[in-house]
Symmetry: C2
Subunit: 355 residues, 2 copies
């Protein structure tokens, strides 16, 4: 696995395919696991961590997967490369910023990511494009079973899997779906949806997890409860609510097309025009403008540029991706100039113009 | 004189040539005159007005000018055509909206305009591109002298020319210079300039005269005092102050280029991009964006589009011009759509793109 190759591509979850991919960006499941023989990461000594990392790395290498997972030694990466993996959603901010031995094993097309010595000894993650929780579950369950044959997980008959933070105890599972909800935001109905989700114990977050603002109108919806329910129950609870949100977003889009088509068209065209012409652009503004462009493509208002290109631009304009693409480290102001230049180049290749 | 031909062209004052034309749009002088034999317009009976109009029309027709002035009977015009002449600065709002017999005689390239039965019986106006008050004065003085040989103006040896409103008594002259001052606005120094001008009894107004906001960063600077000074004194007072304002604007532009070049470039490019891509656009926003584009061209930031084109767009996107160009009457929302469409077409012809 060569990080340079990551820079110029985008992974499975950005392919823009899969079920309901006009609204559902990706489905993701992660499992928190710990080795029974060691203290949790936050109580482990440096020596313990070295042993944990060595053991898990070796066990992961032996997994009978085709192709094999590529193991990356995180402390050996530059700050920029770590940030790249965070932006790519392949490692957590915690793993990027932690101390001591730690790593990540990545599967083909970035669908699988196994983090070692994160908050838990092992965090398994599977990501799929579109609304595909069942497929993600089937993938991750298989990897988890294969690993469980080779290591002894910390497990309690009463509680289930034991984890460093009590909020993960039980299944250790967080299943989440990333939605693009620009019409609900424009129609000012998004808060209502959130309140409804919170009542049924589902959490709503921005693109980059807890505390991050919902840039680009991307929202992650995930389960909060991990204990006292089976994985399949948790999965079915979230799987059942997503189609309702998709319906709300579709209705909001149709209402916008019916009652505010002109101003929607204007919003989309201006967003595209600004992306094609600005010479300074923050990451935040880029996300907001790309969100309007993405909505416009899905509603047939804007042509000649594809959803995968837009999805890719969301990632390629993030700070680390941008610096990797430019081949140099850049301060904030330089990034804003480079980001605008990159967007102009990419969009002119696409060549869309409103009529 | 065919009003249709006006629709597709722009007059002398928008040619964008003449001295200091990067900052000075136009120089204008108007003289207020009344016939000694009749009461002022506001006291005149319908019968009087008919006589005044007939007499002045006949005298104007006999002026030995080459080419002859074209006389337009204003009550015979549609509301849209009257508005067109207002936007073109060839007649005043007052003349457009008044009752009774009235007219305007227009000279070649719209440099000369003689209004009959405005607030005064006769308003003479000469407009020149760029900073050319002396040339404007020489033109208007000639026409005024020629008329004075044919009619008897209301004149007092003590006060000078008598006018319907006391603020015009004396010379009856208002000389004004239209400036484009975007850098002083961006640098928030414009108020300071205004206060200085007010102290020396010069008035500052927006593009369309009293009470109009300074859309597009256009400012008209004119004399307030008409009494007790000769025309040449009044002219020299305003002629002397304009170069100072030009210098201030140039300094503000250079400071912007030196200290804020990146954000200026971004502002100009975004303005251009928005004009090329929006599908709804108010007249107000158009003026503001064109102002940034005009500044960008003058600073060499934006190429492939010329100042005369931008000047023309300022006028062609005004409500009446736009409707005449589209060949149909349009409500506000329809105008915003038509304006955006027109701008996209015109700017794509120009084809400028930031690098």
């Amino acid at each position: 696995m060569n990080l340079e190759s990551l820079t110029h591509t985008s992974g499975e979850w950005l392919r823009g395919t899969g079920p309901e991919s006009d609204i559902v960006i990706s489905s993701r499941i992660r499992l928190a696991r710990n080795l029974a023989a060691f203290p949790f990461t936050n109580r482990a000594t440096a020596h313990h961590k070295t042993e944990i990392e060595a053991m898990l790395r070796e066990r992961i290498a032996k997994l009978e997967l085709d192709p094999k997972l590529a193991y990356i030694n995180v402390p050996g990466l530059s700050t920029l490369d770590r940030q790249l993996l965070v932006e790519r959603q392949l490692i957590s901010r915690e793993l990027a910023g932690a101390d001591g031995p730690r790593g990540v094993a990545l599967g083909p097309r970035e669908t699988v990511s196994l983090m070692v010595n994160e908050e838990d000894h092992l965090r398994l993650q599977v990501m799929r494009s579109g609304f595909a929780l069942d497929e993600a579950w089937s993938d991750i369950d298989k990897v988890d079973d294969m690993l469980e044959q080779r290591v002894s997980y910390a497990f309690s008959d009463e509680f289930g899997y034991l984890t460093a933070c009590p909020t993960n105890v039980g299944t250790g599972m967080r299943s989440s779906v990333m939605l693009h909800l620009p019409a609900l935001v424009l129609a000012k109905q998004i808060e209502k949806v959130f309140r409804a989700l919170q009542k049924i114990n589902l959490a709503v977050r921005g693109l980059y997890g807890e505390g991050s603002r919902a840039s680009g109108d991307f929202y992650q919806i995930s389960n909060q409860v991990t204990l006292g329910k089976s994985e399949t129950t948790i999965l079915s609870e979230i799987r059942e609510v997503i189609p309702q949100i998709i319906t709300y977003e579709r209705q909001a889009r149709q209402t916008l097309m019916r009652e505010g088509r002109q101003s929607l068209q204007d919003r989309v065209s201006r967003a595209y025009g600004t992306l094609c012409s600005a010479t300074m652009m923050t990451s935040e503004e880029t996300m907001d403008l790309l969100s309007s462009v993405r909505l416009g493509i899905n509603l047939g208002i804007l042509e000649d540029i594809t959803i995968p290109t837009v999805n890719e631009l969301f990632i390629h304009t993030q700070p680390a991706h941008l610096q990797k693409l430019m081949g140099t480290s850049l301060d904030g102001e330089e990034r804003n100039a480079a980001r605008a230049r990159y967007l102009r180049q990419r969009l002119r290749e696409g060549g869309a113009h409103p009529n």
